[in-house]
Amino acid sequence: MSTDSTGEYDGPVTEEITVTVNGEPITAEVEPRLKLSDFLRNECGLRGVRVGCEHGVCGACTVQQEGRTVKSCLSYAVQADGKEISTVEGLAEDGSLHPIQEAFHETHALQCGFCTSGFVMAAKELIEENPDPSREEIEEGLADNICRCTGYQNIYEAVERAADEMDATAETETGTGTEE
């Protein structure tokens, strides 16, 4: 790709962006065509963002942007300029697993693990919006993510266990339950 009228090749056109990733601002020169997923993986070193299809079906690349889940293979890094992104790497605090991660571990809700980051991020949004999801609501909440190993049975259990745990934690912290 040529960037100037003299025909000399200076490399591709780039643009400076600043994205807050897991709480830290990251500034980079990127090509406008760089996918957000590739930016997070290659520029930010967040390899927990997995790329399974690059056309928005499998959900392995699911991250949160401004608190909402997005499939990072379907947007460009430049579209995230000035925004906040969180990934699975930002979940564990002080070395201890987030309740959703812990529940996936305890219930054997992962095998090869390639879809797991995406499922954990999707489950996070689901539980944040609905602290006590029914099986039907879990189905709806996770319908945009594909797992090829587990047959989903233990993923239901993981979400239910995580929701219970997060509810209990919330009760302890605030002295009230979410149902009240």
Partner: protein, 829 residues
């Protein structure tokens, strides 16, 4: 170089008492922590410094001569580092080995080679076949460059249907003159007599659509050529890296020792499919040698679905059963065509594996088995969970339904009458393989009880069923007992490359089986480091070895770390496939632990100057019986470090269990599929068919399963859940359809429909545990069961649901898509 990941889990691995055992419990996996925190390193995550990126120019035609390739504009692109075509490869390298290798042609019987170059040589034979490789500084730039490679094609007529291909009107490889590159007809007992004498001969024709594993992680490779040592380091997610390494080093023209293949500890699923990714490994290695820099290739999803050498079985069956009026199954006649795509790749023996369970759970003495292995203008076949058994069981169970109908017997009663009984175990099949143990009638009874419960006020309550029918929704279920052959032997797998006429005379002594290799060593801090010679793709092998080794050594799983050996450090072995690891790896772990304990005892006795009889090993400590001293594992490691020859680094080769029993001698010597464990199960998927839309909804999936001793029940259940989900996909959703001209219809995940959380039903599972008498731990193979049994069970349940409409075999084609069912229903109207 060996790869390992620390056992960084802080899970509940405390041993509550010395009698407590980790084996047999659902010990949470040691693999999970790194995956859940995003730290696991899959192949896509490996990018060495100075690494360049490869992409491929692929044919958009199903069949075409390549008239010319003009790379001048591409090479002029400032980011272009390299363009290679088949012409370049042929100057320095070799073709990839094919499954058949030499094909016998027609009248003269002359054998000719069937070379497959890693880039299409003169002719492209399927859409997506790589024609040129391009290397640039990054993948985005590489694809810009690839767009500038100009390929001119002269298109040819294509053949995309296996049955049509047999006619040889369009021939894929002119040098061999036919598309039928292998066939065999084998008879066991006297099938002709059985069919002549039986009261009825029942016939059926069934289609199994082209499907595959479609792991979420696509293929990937990072190849580094080192000029100084004239050798390669190749990181990739290939499956069976010690077995199929010849697929990589032979095309490169190097010895196995000069091509070091390492697979990351974490692979994002394979299910058999990734044994066939060697093309990418070869090409990245060749590019790396040309450029003397690391070269990385990541397959994208469209490449993977369209031309990734990763489709699996695609079969047309014509089957017959000889049956008597009293419901006795007398004979079975199986004929099928398997469409292997453009080249007959390594897993051609998946047409033979069904012989290991040829009559499923039924006693049938006289069997005829014949196949044609054909080539078409489609991407080549690889292995997929079930390895060709799944379509066989589906066709057989469909035929059983048809036979029951013809003789007017209840299909469950018909099945029950013919089941192999516990007193017949171990049971030798006509095809020479042996079922080890199990109570099939009891399993059928149990699943029937479960169904009876649903008939009593549940999903199948007659009133509910009747009122649903009025809404056009037909419910039904039809169980059967289905066998999962486990723990494939290795020797038989080259039957098709052997002189088959001479096998009758072959001696048992000529059989060479590959054992499972495992190493373990004590480290200075008293922890144990084990090394697997196989690769893993989500099965939890590190956990399995940790828990077994912890029990055998009487230490904690957290004191054990499990790593992996690359293809140079590991001996050639079969590896993780064909439901082998639970048996082979557990046997090897028990063996290596025994060696380590023996060494510890010998080391301590030697130091104390006493007999080994005077010391004992317990709880990770060696003690003198006279209580005059003890050594911890850390002490022993220190003692050993002072010695010239290390005692605390041991290895063990667990022999294939079939080699230990003379009952298997005939099968082994004659290269019939040898699978010494028979896991089994019975499914009851309660289906509801909407006759307006043709859609099938599985309301609930009951399953009763037995895989012998369960080493880790949590992992066993996970394998069953996943296999059943893949079986649901195969039965109802998935297919790589093709137009008549060879254009693929499913090249994205919008077209190839993977089961989602919305389409996989609730699975309710029960287990029985009948240990295998043939294996060290009593375990049986368990990796493939759900994929083998679920499609057949779903198909027969659809037959049952629509039985009141008297449609002729509604599920005679897999997948049973809404379109297929609507056509069947419409034809019937």
């Amino acid at each position: 170089m060996s790869k390992s990941q620390p056992g960084e889990t802080e899970t509940e691995t405390e041993r509550e008492s010395s009698s407590q055992s980790f084996t047999g419990t659902g010990l949470p996996r040691v693999e999970d922590h790194r995956i859940l925190t995003g730290k696991a390193e899959y192949i896509h995550d490996i990018t060495p410094e100075n690494c360049l990126h490869m992409t491929l120019v692929r044919s958009m035609h199903a069949h075409a001569d390549i008239a010319s390739i003009d790379a001048s504009e591409a090479e002029a692109h400032p980011e272009c580092e390299l363009v290679l075509t088949a012409e370049d490869l042929k100057e320095s390298y070799h073709p990839m080995p094919t499954g058949v290798g030499r094909v016998k042609i027609g009248a003269t019987g002359e054998a000719v080679e069937l070379p497959e170059w890693a880039l299409a040589d003169q002719t492209a034979r399927f859409v997506g076949e790589p024609v040129a490789l391009v290397v640039a500084s990054n993948r985005y730039a590489a694809e810009d460059v690839a767009d500038l490679v100009e390929v001119e094609y002269d298109t040819l007529e294509a053949v995309a249907d296996g049955m049509d291909a047999r006619e040889d009107e369009v021939v894929l490889h002119e040098s061999i003159g036919t598309n039928v590159v292998d066939n065999e007809h084998i008879e066991f007992g006297d099938p002709d007599a059985a069919f002549e004498e039986a009261d009825h001969v029942v016939e059926g024709e069934y289609s199994w659509g082209r499907i595959s594993g479609v792991p979420l992680e696509t293929a990937g490779v990072v190849a580094q050529y080192d000029e100084e040592s004239d050798s390669f380091d190749i990181d990739c997610n290939i499956q069976l890296h010690t077995l199929v390494d010849d697929m990589i080093h032979e095309p490169l023209g190097y010895d196995a020792d000069d091509v070091r293949i390492s697979v990351p500890p974490d692979v994002g699923g394979s299910y058999g499919t990734k044994i066939g990714i060697h093309r990418y490994c070869c090409l990245a290695a060749m590019a790396s040698k040309e450029l003397e820099r690391p070269v990385k290739y990541e397959e994208d999803r469209i490449e993977n679905l369209q031309g990734g050498d990763m489709h699996s079985s695609d079969r047309e069956y014509e089957v017959r059963m000889a049956v008597d009026d009293d419901g006795t199954m007398r004979g079975l006649d199986v004929w099928f065509v398997d469409d292997f795509g453009a080249f007959p790749r390594y897993p051609i023996n998946q047409v033979l594996k069904p012989l290991s369970v040829v009559t499923n759970s039924y006693e049938i003495d006289d069997v005829s088995y014949e196949y044609d292995l054909v080539l078409t203008n489609k991407t080549s076949q690889t292995a997929y969970r079930g390895f060709g058994v799944d379509p066989h069981i589906y066709a057989l169970e469909m035929l059983v339904d048809q036979a029951a109908r013809e003789i007017g017997m209840d299909p469950t009663e018909f099945r029950r009458r013919n089941l192999i009984t516990p007193d017949q175990m171990p049971y030798t099949l006509p095809s020479k393989n042996i079922y080890d143990s199990g109570d099939y009638p009891a399993t059928l009874d149990r699943i029937e009880e479960i169904i009876e419960d649903e008939r009593d006020g549940g999903l199948l309550d007659p009133e509910v069923v009747e009122s649903k029918r009025e809404e056009g929704k037909y419910r039904g279920v039809q169980p059967s007992v289905i066998i999962e052959p486990g723990v494939s032997g290795s020797d038989w797998t080259d039957r098709q490359r052997s002189n088959r006429e001479a096998l009758d005379e072959r001696s048992r002594d000529e059989v060479e089986e590959l054992p499972e290799h495992l190493r373990a060593e004590l480290r200075e801090d008293g922890t144990v480091h084990a090394f697997l010679a196989t690769d893993s793709s989500g099965q939890g092998h590190q956990t399995l070895v940790s828990q077994l080794l912890a029990d055998e050594l009487e230490i904690l799983p957290s004191d054990i770390e499990v790593g992996y050996l690359d293809s140079v450090d590991a001996p050639t072995e079969y590896g993780s496939a064909a439901s082998r690891m639970a048996v082979m790896l557990s046997g090897a772990t028990v063996g290596v632990a025994e060696r380590l304990v023996e060494s510890a005892v010998e080391l301590a006795a030697d130091h104390w100057g006493v007999s080994t009889d005077d010391v004992t090993y317990q709880d990770g400590t060696v003690e003198r019986l006279d209580a005059d001293g003890s050594f911890s594992l850390a002490d022993l490691a220190e003692l050993d470090a002072e010695r010239d020859e290390r005692l605390t680094s041991v290895s063990y080769n667990y022999d294939h269990p079939a080699t230990e029993y003379e009952e298997f001698d005939e099968a082994l010597a004659q290269k019939f599929p040898v699978y010494p464990t028979a896991a089994f199960g019975a499914n009851a998927p309660i289906v509801e068919v909407d006759v307006e839309t043709g859609e099938v909804d599985i309301l609930k999936f009951y399953t009763v399963r037995d895989c012998g001793t369960m080493l880790n029940p949590m992992i066993v259940e996970g394998q069953a859940h996943g296999g059943i989900a893949q079986g649901v996909g195969a039965a109802l959703l998935e297919e790589f359809g093709y137009e008549d001209d060879g254009q693929p219809q499913a090249i994205t995940l919008f077209d190839y429909l993977l089961p989602s959380i919305e389409t996989v039903p609730e699975i309710e599972m029960e287990h029985t545990e009948t240990p295998s008498p043939f294996t060290e731990t009593g375990a049986k193979g368990v990796g493939e069961g759900g994929m083998i049994d679920a499609p057949a069970s779903i198909a027969t349940s659809i037959n049952a649901a629509l039985d009141p409409l008297e449609i002729d075999e509604p599920a005679n084609r897999i997948p049973v898509s809404p379109d297929h069912l609507r056509t069947k229903l419409r034809d019937d109207e």
